[in-house]
């Protein structure tokens, strides 16, 4: 994605009331956020409009491959660990992983194994969608409720 294109986008949004813009292309994804202040405060902002610096947009510019989507992303379905244990991405050492980032998965498909007290628990997807992010490394311990996968539904 062209950097100038991103800057141009920011310039265009700067003076608008747009709070958040998300753009996904084949190259990746950008999210631009602009702090408009709490709703009540906005009135006083209007009153003090001459102070330009105050309305300067606080933006986050992200131009990166799909992997590094920020944690706060709400549009994704999150698969959390249902138990305490060790996270495994493959059925056995040396075997190919159940899923990779970018893979399409369907409901009931095995995403990972969580081993707890020597019981191998296969965690299945409860939705159809695309794996956009795997948050835990193979062989790492996981806590109850820990986020494991982001799936774009």
């Amino acid at each position: 994605m062209d950097k100038n294109f991103v800057f141009e986008l920011i310039e265009r949004i700067k003076d608008s009331k747009i709070e958040e813009l998300e753009l996904i292309t084949s190259e990746g994804k950008i999210v631009i956020k602009q702090y408009q202040g709490p709703k009540e405060v906005q009135i006083s902002q209007l009153q003090t409009q001459p102070v330009i610096g105050h309305t300067q947009p606080a933006y986050t510019e992200k131009m990166s491959p799909i992997e590094s989507i920020p944690h706060i992303e709400k549009n994704y379905h999150v698969i959390k660990s249902p138990l305490v244990g060790t996270f495994y991405r493959a059925p056995s050492p040396g075997a190919p992983p159940f899923v990779e980032e970018g893979d399409m998965v369907s409901k009931g498909q095995v995403l990972c194994i969580i081993e707890a007290l020597k019981v191998m628990n296969e965690i299945e997807s409860d939705v159809d969608g695309k794996i956009v992010k795997i948050l835990v490394e193979n062989g790492q311990p996981v806590e109850y409720g820990q986020e494991l996968f982001y799936i774009e539904v």
């Binding site: 249902p82 056995s92 050492p93 009931g108 707890a116 007290l117 020597k118 299945e124 409860d126």
Partner: protein, 316 residues
């Protein structure tokens, strides 16, 4: 169609003529004759005379005809699948959709699995290598308890056969006889929406293995080696399935399992052990007991630690 279980049962009782058998099963005499030959191939010793057929001895195989008459279970083993040889009984049950309570048994496994890709050696016809499929929906919370229920059921059954021997449970899920490994479990579950929808319990027990079947006699053993006699694998299997079903029903009903049952039989209880993870000792302490969630209570110096990962060792 000849009901093979019934056919074998009759021929064990007394001599039946081909004509009688044809009449009983509503088939032709040549169908009877074919069936007799098939049984001979399976290893049955059948006396054939002018008066008819009679089974003199049966093969030491865990075939349906031999195990079914011994089963006292209501649903476990109702669907019974036998293999002379298979890669892994657990993998077979996971590969397709089978009815609740399906049991898969094999005389040998070519890729018998232990944990972390380790192999479980299954010499032909000497041990019990089987898997049970259970499909009751259960909250994930109960998984560790459920695995203790299976472990304890097998332990209790084996205990009846090894009264004079030192049978223990090695945390978290092995059975030891005279300080050597006798049986192991591989439990696979499927979890969907925080609910266990499927459990496959794989059990491997060294029964009539001989000394030459083991690479290292210091770590593993069989019932035969320790007790100096040959055991009836068919009866043992039927007894285990019965005990598993009883305990499983009770657990589903009450959602309760007393971990003290396992705790009091723990190997190295009150002794100093090492916790080994991926080949490194991560902790050393005294086994104090078993926690309600299945974790091991270890006293490390003056502190109590709950152990969820790793393996126990007294050597290293």
């Amino acid at each position: 169609m000849i009901d093979s279980v019934e056919f074998v049962k009759l021929l064990k009782e007394r001599k039946y003529s081909g004509e009688e058998l044809a009449k009983i099963f509503g088939v032709s005499r040549s169908a009877v004759w074919k069936r007799i030959n098939k049984l001979k191939e399976e290893g049955y010793d059948i006396d054939v005379s002018k008066e008819g057929y009679h089974i003199i001895s049966s093969p030491d195989k865990l075939i349906l005809e031999e195990v079914k008459p011994l089963l006292k279970t209501k649903f476990i083993g109702y669907n019974y699948i036998y293999f002379d040889k298979i890669d892994s009984t657990n993998e077979y049950l996971k590969s397709d959709d089978f009815p609740d309570g399906t049991v898969v048994v094999a005389e040998t496994q070519t890729a018998g699995k232990g944990r972390k890709g380790r192999k479980w050696i299954s010499p032909y016809g000497k041990g019990l290598y089987f898997s049970i499929l259970l499909k009751s929906r259960l909250e994930v919370y109960y998984v560790s308890k459920l695995s203790l229920v299976f472990l304890w059921s097998v332990f209790e059954t084996l205990k009846k056969y090894t009264a004079s021997c030192d049978l223990k449970i090695k945390w978290p899920n092995d059975i030891y006889l005279n300080n050597k490994k006798l049986a192991g479990f591989l439990i696979d579950t499927s979890i969907e929406n925080n609910e266990v929808v499927k459990v496959v319990v794989g059990v491997g027990i060294n029964i009539n293995n001989d000394v030459e079947d083991f690479n290292d006699l210091d770590i593993a053993t069989s019932l035969k080696i320790e007790c100096n006699k040959t055991f009836d694998r068919k009866k043992l299997l039927a007894d285990i399935l019965y005990q598993v079903e009883e305990s499983y029903y009770k657990f589903l009903d009450t959602k309760f399992f007393n971990v003290k049952n396992v705790e009091k039989n723990l190997l190295w209880l009150g002794e100093t052990v090492k916790i080994v993870e991926n080949g490194t000792v991560i902790l050393e302490g005294i086994i104090e007991g078993l926690n309600d969630d299945g974790s091991l209570i270890l006293k490390v110096k003056d502190k109590i630690e709950l152990i969820y990962v790793g393996e126990l060792s007294v050597r290293v």
